[in-house]
């Protein structure tokens, strides 16, 4: 059965490009435009195997989303990758401290993205 991935980004281009890339790669993909909508989707019953989130978003950013997801039952160990234009060490450290699994800087080539996902999602 296909692994489920939740992509969170306020850019329609990012959502569409990553969603299509992952769907072609064989994954089932859901999208949300910010952290709040992502949390709502999870609370509605969507249980992702992996979350890929932007950092700077309106309403709720990626860092706050990671913090909230880690508090949800069953999602404590779900891999979360940040996909952002932020490249500095301070932000990466903050993400790591909050529970992110990895840090990816935009833009990420489709093949590279699939390779990284296979690393954090064994058997995918």
């Amino acid at each position: 059965m296909s692994k489920k991935i939740l992509i969170v980004d306020d850019s329609a281009t990012m959502l569409m490009s990553v969603k299509n890339n992952l769907e072609i790669g064989g994954f089932m993909v859901e999208t949300a435009e910010d952290g709040l909508k992502a949390l709502a989707k999870i609370k509605e019953g969507f249980k992702p195997d992996l979350i890929i989130t932007d950092v700077n978003m309106p309403n709720m950013g990626g860092m706050e989303l990671i913090k909230n997801v880690r508090l949800l039952p069953g999602l404590r160990f779900t891999p979360i990758l940040t996909l952002t234009t932020e490249s500095q060490a301070e932000k990466r450290d903050e993400g790591k401290r909050l529970g992110a699994t990895g840090w990816l800087v935009k833009p990420v080539g489709g093949a590279d993205l699939l390779k990284i996902i296979k690393q954090v999602l064994p058997g995918a």
């Binding site: 980004d9 850019s11 329609a12 281009t13 990012m14 569409m16 490009s17 990553v18 299509n20 890339n21 072609i24 790669g25 700077n56 234009t85 932020e86 490249s87 500095q88 060490a89 932000k91 990466r92 790591k96 992110a100 699994t101 990895g102 840090w103 990816l104 800087v105 935009k106 833009p107 990420v108 080539g109 489709g110 093949a111 590279d112 993205l113 699939l114 990284i116 690393q119 954090v120």
Partner: protein, 349 residues
């Protein structure tokens, strides 16, 4: 992507335009008023120009986003079409293989039937010859019985004649014996007739056995069966060729499809630059807006004591520092042509 190195601005470089204004203000007061008026007009036009540029930049962001999404949709269709083609070829290949298996099975059955048909005449000939020999032997056996019947008939006839002679000698006493002698003669004649009839029947049967069991010509049927087998063999060879052709086609198309999928994935990655550029434009627009807010204060601050200008200069430097800092936070990573000290593009914790 090449980016502007904001470090070259340096933190101690004085804002040139503010210095120039301060230099001018060292002149006469009427000149100063004129400078303030002109500066005010200049700033007003500058801000309006920036607003117009900002509007265009927002439009660029929206238009490139729409174009990117459209491009993603087209690319997805391209991928779906390529996948559909591979599926079609896969199905065709499977159908051909299934047809090949069917032909192979049919051919095996036809081979068996053909072999049977081929052997059938010999089998029939053998069986018929055996039946014929047995029947002729039996008929020959019956012929000896005819001899016996004829002999019995002959002896009965003689017996009847003797009986009739003896009855005549016996006179009155032999009258009933005459009847017996007559019946004996009739029996002898009928036995002779029966023997003749049986003999004739057996001869006819022998003749029929020898002449009537000639086999119908089966060679034509055997040749037809052979032709059918040959046609099916040709069909199988053609099918094998077709299978091979599909296999090669499938391999080539699959190879192209894998490479196409890889190119599509990379293309989808490159499309992400639209978001990177949009964010850069937004950061520029934000800093420009902050700068323009300060510039709008400039005419008012020129008339104020020197402290007001210094405060403005500090704020302007703050805008610059903030912009430079933001750009540094979004600096390219090692994979995008940055220096050796840049952080990696991907990092798993």
């Amino acid at each position: 992507m090449k980016t502007f190195d904001y470090r070259i601005l340096g933190k101690n470089t004085p804002p040139r335009f503010l210095g120039a204004i301060l230099d001018t203000l060292r002149g006469t007061s009427s000149d100063a008023r004129q400078v303030v008026e002109k500066t005010s007009l200049l700033i007003d036009n500058h801000v309006r120009l920036d607003a117009a540029i900002d509007e265009q930049l927002k439009a660029v962001s929206m238009e490139t986003e729409a174009a990117a999404i459209n491009l993603i949709g087209q690319v997805r269709k391209l991928n779906d079409a390529a996948v559909a083609l591979v599926c079609y070829l896969d199905n065709s290949d499977q159908s051909t293989q299934s047809m090949g298996h069917g032909l192979k099975d049919s051919l095996a059955s036809i081979h068996l039937i053909s072999k049977f048909v081929e052997e059938l005449p010999d089998m029939i000939r053998g069986d018929v010859a055996q039946v014929q020999t047995t029947a002729l032997k039996e008929i020959d056996g019956l012929n000896s019985f005819i001899g016996v019947i004829k002999e019995i008939s002959m002896q009965s006839k003689l017996l009847a004649i003797n009986a009739a002679i003896e009855a005549a000698h016996a006179g009155e006493a032999g009258k009933s014996f005459v009847v017996l002698a007559r019946e004996l003669r009739v029996l002898a004649e009928r036995s002779a007739q029966a023997a003749a009839m049986i003999e004739k029947g057996l001869k006819t049967a022998q003749q029929a056995m020898r002449e009537g069991l000639a086999l119908s010509p089966m060679e034509n049927h055997i040749a037809e069966a052979g032709t059918i087998v040959e046609s099916i063999l040709h069909l199988q060879v053609s099918n094998n060729d077709l299978q091979q052709h599909y296999k090669e086609l499938f391999e080539v198309v699959t190879q192209h499809n894998v490479s196409l999928a890889s190119e599509i994935a990379e293309l989808l990655g490159h499309i992400q630059f639209q978001d990177v550029v949009r964010q850069r434009i937004e950061r520029i627009a934000d800093s420009v807006a902050q700068r323009n807010d300060l510039l709008k204060e400039l005419p008012r601050r020129i008339g104020e004591p020197k402290l007001g200008m210094i405060d403005l200069e500090t704020k302007m430097r703050g805008v610059l520092d903030d912009y430079v800092s933001k750009e540094e936070r979004h600096a390219p990573t090692s994979d995008a042509g940055a220096g050796h000290d840049a952080l990696p593009k991907f990092e798993l914790f």
